[in-house]
Each structure stands twice: as C-alpha cells, then as structure tokens.
Symmetry: C2
Subunit: 361 residues, 2 copies
C-alpha cells in the first residue's frame, strides 16, 4: 500500500478484507461504495492483507509498520478475521486481540456503534405477539470500546497446577466513561425519542457500576431533554427479548456491549445484517467499520455469505465522514433490498449487485 497525495475530495480508505467470508463481503461493500460515491468524491483504497492467512504464513499479526500506514488513512473498512476453529497453529484469540482489539485500542475507537432495526421483510426469531402493536424496533447500542474487561489486564499464577489462579481486571476510568456517555447522549439528542438506557450490573460490580452511574447522572444534566433509564444487564436480556421496542440508545460497557449487541443482532434478523462502527469521535485516528459477524470459514468462498452487514458498515462509514445524505441512500437501498427478498437464495455478489443498482438508480 502506498500513501499517495490526496486532494480534499479524496478519501483515503484502508481496506482489510481479512479471512473466510471477509473478502467476499468486503468486495460487495466496496462495489456499493463505488456505486454511491457522489461526483467529485474519490475513494483511494489501500488493501491490507491481515488475518489468519497472513499469520499462518508469516507469523505476523499486525506489524507496527502496517499499523502506522493504516493510521494514515481517513477510515478503515474491515471484513472479518479469524481462521478455522481449533486450528492448532492458530492460538485462540491471537487475531482478535492482536489485530481487531489492537486496532480498536491503538486508534482509540472508544465508541463502538451498533445500530439494530427490525426491517420490513426480515424474519425475527421473536414471535409476532412480541412485536405487534409496539413501536418499531430501532435502537442503537453505544458500546465502550477501549476499557472494561477488554484491556488485557489480568494474569495467571501457577498455571496448569491445581493451585492456578487466573484474574481478569475490568478497568474503568472517569475519562473513558464520561467520553462515551457524552457521545451516547449526543446521539440520543439527535434521535426522535431522545431516550438513553444505561446497562450495567451496578448491584454486583459496585466500583465500575458506581462510576458509570454517577457520570450518567452528571452528563444527563447537560442533556435535559433526554429521558434516562437504567437496567441491569440480566434484566436487559429479558426486555430485549420481550419488548425490544423499549430501547432507543443503549450505552454500556465493553463486555456487556459485546453480549447485548449479538442478542440485538439475533432478534433483529441475524448477524448477517448487523453493521458496526469502531468510532474515534475526536478524529485523532481513523475509525473502522466492520460487520458484527465473524469470518465463517465453513461457508467461505462459496458466495453464500450475506454482504448486507458489510454494506451497512459502509453507510456508517459515510455518515462518520460527514456524508450523511449518501449514507442514507445506502441505508434506503438496504431496506428496499430486504423488503424485496423473496426467500430464494442469492449469491453474495447478487445481493451486492442488487444494492449497488439501487444506490446508482
């Protein structure tokens, strides 16, 4: 990849297709990006070959020089990374921590943004009686992305003996909690329902819970129009499955957010539709956009993956870069494509073609 000179209408995009279905869905995302880009806006792509394949071939996960190059871009589009389950040559978590989480931490992606909507035409695993007569299910989870149990703090003693002790430390700072809360409140302020739900486990995790709770109250004073609610993470499981229309903006810790967003994806029609942004709202480094799903090596290369989540990630990317009108065009094309689905299976590229045609047309 080369860092070419740019004009103001050129967006430098780092593309990390990754493993498994990653390259397939990324190709469709780029196809749609290409089709939707307004005249005068150019996306200059650098592709980075990172993931399980590279690690298995070279032992490299994310060389510092590559990270430095990636950092020089305006945004990152990532497909999915991860090798075959239980590959003995691939230590568990090495790519997740060495690549995905390293990017999130190094680039200060403190807002992990995961919108959830039940789109017309999409089959939810929730029963009709749960959904009917309620408002539309349309909420966004603002998951903290740089703290909590994800910091890699912790260790182990007497490993492999009957006296082993292993710890994991959740680290929560006022700095880190307040900034993600401010972002979440600001997002709630821009949404019609203006409601924010803090999800935590304050009755057990008292120290972390206390700083989240106190700062939520404090930041709320700057957003008097927002209705603020609190829910324990276990209770959130119940409400997400029995009345998901309750939610507007959910703000939560890194690990709770990981769990909640997979449930949110499941109830709104599956992980194949869930887009996400790893956002650095201060723009001190490029933000990264990726589908929530993994690399699904079992169906890789078969044109079976649904690229909708990757395409939705392009919409989040455009919105983050200030092209909210163009982002809305992509979102509308996704909605229209989903509504028109007949149930007959299409290939990955057929879905990409259809959405690209809609944004162009």
């Amino acid at each position: 990849a080369t860092a070419a000179s740019t004009t103001s209408s050129t967006i430098r995009l780092a593309v990390i297709p990754g493993d498994g279905i990653g390259p397939e869905v990324t190709a469709e995302a780029l196809k749609v990006l290409d089709a939707v880009a307004p005249a005068g806006l150019r996306f200059e792509q650098s592709h980075y070959d990172l993931g399980a394949e590279r690690y298995l071939a070279t032992g490299e996960v994310l060389p510092d020089s590559v990270l430095a190059e990636v950092r020089g871009h305006d945004a990152i589009l990532l497909g999915a990374v991860g090798g075959k389950p239980n590959d003995p040559n691939l230590p568990p978590g090495i790519l997740e921590r060495g690549l995905l989480l390293r990017l999130r931490f190094e680039l200060d992606h403190y807002v992990n943004l995961r919108p959830s909507r039940i789109y017309p035409g999409v089959t939810s695993p929730l029963a009709p009686h749960v959904l009917e007569g309620r408002d539309d299910v349309d909420f966004v989870v603002v998951r903290e992305g740089t703290e909590g149990p994800y910091t890699g703090n912790g260790g182990a003693l007497r490993v492999g003996t009957p006296h082993e002790v292993a710890t994991e430390v959740s680290v929560n700072t006022a700095f880190g909690v307040e900034r993600v809360l401010r972002d979440a409140f600001a997002r709630a302020q821009r949404r019609p329902r203006k409601k924010l739900t803090l999800v935590h486990k304050t009755n057990v995790l008292v120290h972390a819970g206390s700083v989240w709770w106190r700062l939520t109250q404090a930041v709320a004073r700057d957003f008097p129009e927002i209705t603020v609610d609190y829910m324990h993470v276990d209770a959130a499981m119940i409400h997400l499955t029995t009345d998901p229309a309750l939610f507007d903006v959910i703000v939560t810790d890194n690990l709770f957010g990981d769990i909640i967003t997979d449930l949110a994806a499941a109830i709104t029609g599956g992980i194949g539709l869930a887009a996400s942004g790893n956002v650095n709202p201060d723009r001190t480094a490029p933000s990264m956009f990726e589908p929530v799903h993994g690399s699904a090596p079992d169906i890789a290369g078969q044109q079976k993956a649904d690229p909708t989540a990757a395409i939705g990630s392009v919409a989040l990317l455009l919105d983050h870069l200030g092209h909210s009108g163009t982002a809305a065009v992509v979102d509308a094309a996704i909605v229209a494509d989903l509504a028109a689905r007949t149930g007959a299976p299409r290939t990955t590229s057929e879905i990409g073609d259809a959405i690209a045609a809609r944004v162009a047309g």
Copy 2:
C-alpha cells in the same frame, strides 16, 4: 428461630421470605411442600426476617448470629429480596451483596443451578418457526457461584474526580473451576442427551478463559460419554434465541451465568417460571433454593405474582435432599398446571392451591 432437636425424618428448613412478592410466593411454595411431603417426612421451618424491610428498620442485613443459625439447617428456601428502586435509604446492591451473595459465598454455593424448559401451554417470546420441528427445549445452566467477577475484588481510586479509576477483578481458580465442571459433567451424564457446552469468552478473557478451557478438556477425559462443545458468550446469545434446543447442560462463569439464565428464563416463558438452586454439592453447608425473579415491589401484596418459580425451587430442594421422586411429583404438577392455564388471570394463592391440589391428589 430455634434449633430444635430433630429425628432423621425431619428436615430443618430455613425460610427467608424476603421483600415485595417474596413472602407471597414463598407461602405458596411452602403450601405445596406441605401437601407433597411424604408420610414420615417432616419439615421443621425457621423463618428469618431478612431483606429490605429489616435493613430499613434496623440497619442489619445479615447479622453473623443469624448466619450461624441459618447454617444449622438442612436447606434454605428464599423468596426474593430487594426494596423499592432508587430508595435513597437503601444503598444500591447492599442487600444483593450483603445477603444473597453473602449466603452464596459463606455457604459455598458453588453450583448455581438453573433449569430451563419450554413447557407445553407456555407462550415463548420466540417465534413458532424457531421452535417447531426441533427437539424440546430442555436445558440446565450450571453457573459457577463463588468466583468470577462476583468476588467483590476490585476498588476505586480518586472517586468523584476526573481521574477516577475503578476496577473489578474476576478471580478464577483451578479449584473453583474444576469442582463446578465436575458437577456439570456429572449432571450431563445423568441426562439422556449427554451434552455439555462451555460458555465463556476465551478470545478476550484469555487467562480466565484458559483455565476454564483446559480444565474442561481435562475433566472431559473422565466423562468419555459426554459430547463437549464450546461457545463464546456472545455467540450463545444468538443460539439461545435462534435454536435453544441445541443445549443440554451449559456450564459457565458466575457473570455469564447471570446473564444467560435471565435470557434462558425469558425465552422459556418468563422469569415467573424460573427456579434456581444455590447448591453446595459437598453438603458442608445448607443449599439455598430461590426463584430467579426479584422482589417486584410494584406488584407486591396484590396477589399478582406467579408462584411457579418458587414452587419449582421446592422441587429442586427436594431433589437435592435426595427426594427425587417427590421432586418429580412437584414438577409434574407444575407442568400440568401450566398446560391447563386458560389465560384467565389467577391470584398467587389460587395458583398455589391448584398445584398443591395436584400434588396431593
């Protein structure tokens, strides 16, 4: 409460009705216990007045002397504890930690047992297409009860300043993990499907995940008939909502277990039906049985609560004490009562009466 002399056919039961709907549902549970007790088996009850009301009146949560008395019993039946939400006189979490969790830790309830079934006649929030054509949904979560993020390890620095740092430490020992795994494998061995799924987040929580993963492999060698599976906690959200029949025995950490069991309760018809046991399999202290639901102060005293979860907890109690035949009678009465429900609301005591009549009849 007095510690009277007992004969071998007397079971000394400590009853903690608690707050809100706790006393109402406990009364029905005891009604059923009374009706089902086989000739010659006597339940000698000591009632302990613990919970929000006592705390608000006296400042006491669980005096050491009361704990010592409770410890002298064969089992504990608990209703629910917890005051009104946001009561300024009730510090958040004080009862949960000072009473519920203290009992679990002091009495070494390392197996937190939570069965989940979709009973005939019960409405699940999951769509018919998710459930039809699959096996019955009938699994049990074996949640570790004395370690993980629940140990109260952690602290905070510079509280209330912009430099606050709050930590929560998940503590995992080989001793603690192995013993709960052995219990879970033994339970899987007694079930027809003989399948065990470890749920964790080994790709991020590497130290804790590693000890859970390695010991699962090690204990599996002693249970060659058991099919062992692994799932990340986020992926478990998806499978629980899109194909819950996959599961037989789930074994997991204390916090993941808290989250998963509320989701399990929700998808199998609600927290009003979910029973649980806080079990000390070594019988060095009494085990405690309680509905998963809370004290629901908003509906307290109105005879609106469903006592089924509390009655199901009595079945778990009987089973733990070796009266599995009697436990099965209670379970069958619950199943029959659920199947016969017409949708017309009944009072708490009407449901208790109906189930008591079935076990007696």
